[in-house]
């Protein structure tokens, strides 16, 4: 096992999952329902960036920025059109509606762009070696962009009026409203930021790997897993959760469990006992099942920020 390589891969996975999960954890805690369409908006953002970049020939950075902005606004529109109706409903109805929306978005992408793999138009730069790990230029950029976005979000949340209003509304909506916070305005902001971050994450995942309509399907449970580990509503918890999931899936398939098995004392001495790489997605699914059974409230104290 190349320790440095697996660590780098884990960090990349974590930053991609983390930036997508931030928006999900915010709407989850504010509106009290699990939005299954969230990751699909991430993929839609990636496709929008591809259209601008490859079809219209715009600069790569400009394409991503434009897609992020447009998807942020689309998030607000989705909330107004679909989820506003469910403000006073139970948690199941909006979840079912979001599921229908997720299916509609995913297969719209498939109808428009087809099932083939797409790539961004971006000059291929040589990768580099950092302490024994092979890293591509994209991956360095991804880490940098995600870090920047997170720091920006932290500043917004802690030091601006809208950030304070968001934290107040998440902690106690009635009290926030009584104190003069326009909660509908805050909700609109949360949708804008959450969906914009998702679109950014989606574009980065597609940049790092490839763009296919099933991308959202492969991401939905891992992103929920990140949110659940971090505790619903906790932005920093989600980032920690992303790190845990990134490390778990990458080290899970890289580690040789044979010494552990021999230590426990199986019938025969084994030299190699690995989780097959095909089971990589199952690690996350199993983690979700265990978390929900053992600690449905997550591992962090529940609070925004």
């Amino acid at each position: 096992m190349n320790f440095a390589q697996v660590l780098v891969n884990s960090l990349i996975t974590a930053s991609e999952l983390g930036i997508i999960a931030v928006g999900l954890t915010l709407t989850f805690s504010l509106l009290k329902f699990a939005n299954f369409a969230h990751v699909e908006t991430a993929v839609a953002g990636a496709y929008l960036a591809w259209t601008l970049n490859v079809r219209l020939g715009l600069n790569f950075a400009v394409s991503i920025a434009a897609a992020v902005l447009v998807m942020g606004l689309a998030g607000v529109v989705i909330d107004r059109l679909v989820f506003r109706i469910f403000r006073n409903a139970d948690d199941v109805a909006p979840m079912i509606a979001s599921l229908g929306l997720a299916i509609a978005i995913r297969y719209s992408m498939q109808a428009i762009f087809g099932p083939r793999f797409l790539r961004y138009d971006f000059g291929i730069a040589p990768g580099m070696r950092i302490v024994g790990a092979f890293v591509t230029r994209q991956q360095v950029w991804i880490l940098g962009i995600v870090l920047l976005a997170i720091v920006g979000f932290h500043i917004l949340l802690q030091y601006t009026t809208i950030g304070k209003a968001m934290r107040a509304t998440s902690t106690n909506p009635e009290l926030a409203q009584a104190s003069g916070v326009n909660t509908e305005w805050v909700i609109a902001w949360v949708w804008f930021l959450g969906t914009a971050f998702a679109a950014l994450g989606g574009a980065l995942v597609a940049w790092d790997t490839q763009l296919v309509p099933e991308l959202g399907f492969n991401l939905v449970i891992p992103v929920f897993c990140v949110v659940l580990i971090g505790g619903v509503g906790s932005v920093y918890g989600a980032l920690l959760g992303a790190l845990v999931v990134g490390l778990a899936v990458n080290f899970g398939v890289a580690v040789n469990f044979a010494p552990l098995a021999n230590l426990i004392g199986g019938a025969d001495w084994v030299s190699s006992l690995r989780i097959p790489a095909d089971y990589k997605p199952a690690i996350v699914y199993l983690a979700v099942v265990l978390i929900l059974l053992l600690r449905p409230s997550g591992f962090m104290r529940r609070e925004l920020a």
Binding site: D91, I96, A97, G100, L101, I103, G114, A282
Partner: protein, 289 residues
């Protein structure tokens, strides 16, 4: 003409299988309030159990029984986790469980044939008629059961755990019974699916199958058996009918398939938004005080 008749009989069989899965889902969601986003898993385990049993030389009837048993066991396994979990978390959990089963089916080639799937070489005479007959029996049974004290109690559980608990009902046991029964019906549907398609592969276990069944239940009307029948027939007719559109319009078949699913998704969203009770709402009996 013969071909048309054969197609009609095949359609009857497939619609019956869908109807069984929809009734099973409605039993869980519409009556007991258990939000199952992994409904396809019953089809998966039922079909694989039947196909594997047939492959090892079992007769058709015992093989179907294995399918039902697999459904029951998986229903019980899922219900252990149901305890007092909210709808949201159970949705995520059941989706994950169904995916784990699909990944196992995809990778354990010695058991399931992996991505190539597993073929069924047994032919059963009058199979579509048997399936339709079984579906009628299931429909009747579930209808009777829902009218019984058991049905009233699980509908009470749907509205919240506290009242049935205060009345001394064993909520966990009732949820387990509901899931076991739902699993049995779903497993039976899976067994018939394997016999009818003569093949089962992980492709038939994808989550989208779950959501097509959800569309049937949501559109038809949760908690109303006739609503489920109507929803199943409508969605199945839409699904089959639009297949013939490829010839009429100049649209590639896979684009049309994607558009079909876009419609299914929008239907789920729009019905949940504007007519949450579905086309045929549940008839709630009002008891005078």
């Amino acid at each position: 003409m013969d071909q048309l008749a054969n197609f009609g009989i095949y359609l009857m069989g497939i619609t019956s299988i869908s109807l069984m899965l929809a009734i099973s889902l409605d039993l869980q969601v519409g009556n007991c309030g258990i939000v199952n986003f992994g409904q396809v898993v019953f089809l998966t385990v039922g079909a694989y159990a039947t196909a594997i049993a047939l492959g090892r030389g079992s007769g058709a009837v015992p093989a179907v029984c294995w399918g039902v048993l697999a459904g029951v066991l998986f229903g019980l396994l899922m219900s252990i986790s149901v305890r007092n979990m909210s709808g949201t978390y159970w949705g995520i959990l059941s989706l994950s469980l169904a995916e784990i089963v699909r990944i196992i089916a995809l990778n354990e080639r010695w058991l399931t044939g992996g991505a190539n799937g597993i073929s069924v070489l047994v032919t059963v005479q009058y199979l579509p008629w048997i399936i339709a007959g079984s579906t009628l029996a299931v429909l009747l049974l579930v209808g009777l059961l829902l009218g019984s004290p058991f049905g009233r109690t699980i509908r009470l559980i749907r509205e919240g755990d506290r009242l049935p608990m205060a009345l001394g009902k064993n909520v966990l046991l009732l949820k387990m019974e509901t899931m076991a029964l739902g699993g049995a019906i779903g497993g039976l549907a899976g067994a018939y699916y394997a016999l009818m398609q003569r093949y089962m592969s992980p492709d038939d276990a994808k989550p989208i199958e779950t959501f097509i069944i959800w569309a049937m239940v949501v559109v038809g009307g949760r908690g109303n058996v006739w609503g489920i029948v109507l929803g199943t027939v409508l969605i199945q007719a839409f699904y089959t009918g639009t297949r013939f559109l490829t010839g009429l319009f100049d649209i590639p078949a896979d684009t049309l398939a994607a558009l079909r699913l876009v419609t299914i998704g929008l239907l789920i969203t729009l019905v949940t938004m504007f007519r949450p009770q579905g086309l045929l709402p549940e008839r709630r009996r009002i008891y005078p005080l």
